[in-house]
């Protein structure tokens, strides 16, 4: 379980930025993500979604409030939280199998054991037969799947995903959403995902948070079950065209638009 209590991130004075000086990035965010949830963070671009994810990952230290995983305060990056990045961050000098096995290697597991584990997660993301391929030969979607398998191989309590499908084409993106739900169902991991795709957010989330523009506050918080329904067998396109799905999507879209328009 991930617990955020009044998490605030101050402006850190990024070089070259002239706007939003002294505007905090995150303003007292309270959010409890329960065990096994698929939590999605949605908001206008530049609003601080990724900052909030980075707080949970331990890359950013909040200037105020408390962040914890299963009751342990977050003090830095750690193996209990796996991260999937938008640009896959795979290591090109390792083949697919060794990329996935890397977290286990860092932990000092035996070679055979870690390769078995890596194969298992590669199978889960549909990449059997690609073990010995160099990662730089793979397409964007496949690289993201290697990234997911790698994060899972570390067996984290929470899987953090920073706009993981943002750089993919529309078709691959939908396939990856379905794959993610399958993986989520199969592993029972808690997932926190950042996206700017409204349909993606509504489709995947069990726990959806819409952030305002800076300083980011939570403007909408919904519990949904479309993703769960897909994981239990309903077809993705059928769900996405249900009247109740469309209604929720439009409401969420309205909230995001309202934030975006406030800027102009």
């Amino acid at each position: 379980m991930v617990e955020l209590q009044a998490v605030t991130v101050g402006y850190r004075g990024a070089a070259g930025s002239t706007t939003a000086v002294n505007t905090p990035v995150l303003d007292a965010i309270d959010w409890q993500i329960s065990q096994g949830a698929l939590a999605v963070l949605l908001g206008p671009s530049g609003c601080g979604k990724s900052s909030l994810l980075n707080v949970i990952a331990g890359f950013v230290t909040p200037s105020g409030g408390r962040a914890s995983v299963s009751g342990r305060a977050i003090t830095g990056p750690g193996a209990d939280r796996g991260v999937v990045f938008q640009d896959d961050a795979l290591l090109p000098w390792l083949d697919v199998l060794n990329n996935v096995a890397l977290p286990l290697r860092l932990r000092g597991g035996g070679r055979a054991a870690r390769e078995d584990k890596a194969r298992e997660f590669l199978a889960l993301v549909g990449l059997e037969g690609f073990e010995s391929r160099p990662v730089w030969e793979l397409s964007g979607g496949m690289r993201q799947r290697v990234g997911i398998a790698r994060a899972l191989a570390a067996d984290p309590e929470v899987l953090l995903m920073d706009e993981p499908f943002g750089a993919l084409d529309a078709l691959t993106r939908e396939r990856m959403q379905e794959l993610l739900l399958k993986v989520w169902q199969a592993t029972g991991k808690t997932i926190v995902l950042v996206t700017h795709g409204v349909e993606e957010a509504v489709f995947l989330a069990t726990d959806l948070v819409v952030l305002s523009r800076r300083p980011a506050r939570i403007v909408q918080h919904r519990l949904l079950d479309f993703g769960r329904r897909h994981a239990q067998g309903e077809a993705a396109r059928a769900i996405k065209s249900l009247p109740e799905f469309v209604a929720v999507r439009e409401q969420v879209l309205g909230a995001v638009f309202a934030q975006d328009e406030a800027l102009h």
Binding site: P77, G78, L91, E178
Partner: protein
């Protein structure tokens, strides 16, 4: 659909979006290679024509045949108590030793400078200070300090290789992709593991480029190094032949130096393709 994701989709997903593009390696008789060979042949023909017409005295420019004949003589009987191969071997051994010392010292220092702003602040001005100075200019100082033995020669070449290698390594380390670093940290990598599994391999393309540049500079410092009381080496051979106006041997020495440099360059490029095939693609 019964399954969350059908076997069909998995298979469809498993296809790479585009076939991987392999770097085109020029086939042996491609257009550029043929043109380059022609260019060399034209130069040789011009050389032959100029000398055959006796436009230039053989003392200044001997004909190609004379140089070739000298090559056979020097390769077999030798010049100045050593065959061409022994001269080349002596030079290569010096450069190899210098390269070894430079690799063992410059790469760790470059890593340190890339990781620590303090180390960069301390060493950067020193390296940038001596790097542009031609080795011939500080050779006398090295001789005063370290004498005329083998040490001075190897040290001069080492210094020439050292600077570009340190700078390339430090640059490579500073350019390590931040998300790769973060990914490894998120898997609980220690500082040492980060260095070993992310920083060093990420910097490898830059390090190899630095090695290529360094070896080029080192090899071209050879003649300067062998000016000092050498009895063997290609640089020594050229120097002493020049004193006797043996222009054919001077030319032979220059060609040998050039061919070895060319071979080293090709070898290092092949090594780079083999060790970092992802360069420019990831």
């Amino acid at each position: 659909m019964d399954d969350a994701i059908s076997p069909m989709t998995v298979r469809a997903l498993a296809q790479p979006a585009e076939p991987p593009v392999r770097e085109a390696i020029a086939p042996p008789w491609s257009r550029p290679v043929v043109i380059s060979l022609l260019s060399v042949l034209v130069l040789l023909a011009a050389w032959q024509a100029v000398t055959a017409a006796r436009w230039i005295e053989p003392l200044f420019l001997p004909p190609p045949a004379a140089v070739w004949e000298k090559f056979a003589r020097v390769a077999g009987e030798g010049y100045m108590d050593a065959t061409l191969w022994q001269h080349a071997g002596a030079s290569l051994a010096r450069v190899a030793l210098a390269l070894g010392i430079a690799v063992l010292t410059a790469i760790p220092l470059g890593l340190w400078m890339g990781l620590s702003p303090t180390a960069r602040g301390v060493f950067d001005p020193l390296i940038e200070f001596y790097r542009p100075v031609p080795p011939l200019a500080y050779l006398p100082l090295i001789v005063i300090w370290f004498g005329i033995g083998e040490l001075s020669k190897v040290l001069l070449i080492t210094l020439a290789i050292f600077a570009p290698l340190v700078i390339a390594t430090a640059t490579g380390v500073r350019q390590v992709d931040e998300t790769r670093r973060r990914a490894a940290q998120a898997f609980g990598a220690t500082r040492w593991q980060l260095l070993r599994h992310v920083v060093l391999p990420s910097a490898l393309p830059e390090i190899l480029t630095g090695l290529r540049v360094g070896l080029g500079v080192g090899w071209s410092t050879l003649v300067a190094a062998e000016l000092v009381a050498a009895t063997r080496g290609l640089g020594f051979m050229v120097q002493s032949a020049a004193q006797f106006l043996a222009t054919d041997i001077v030319l032979l020495g220059i060609f040998t130096i050039a061919l070895i440099a060319f071979g080293l360059e090709l070898g290092l490029r092949a090594l780079q393709r083999r060790l970092v095939p992802w360069q420019g693609r990831a």
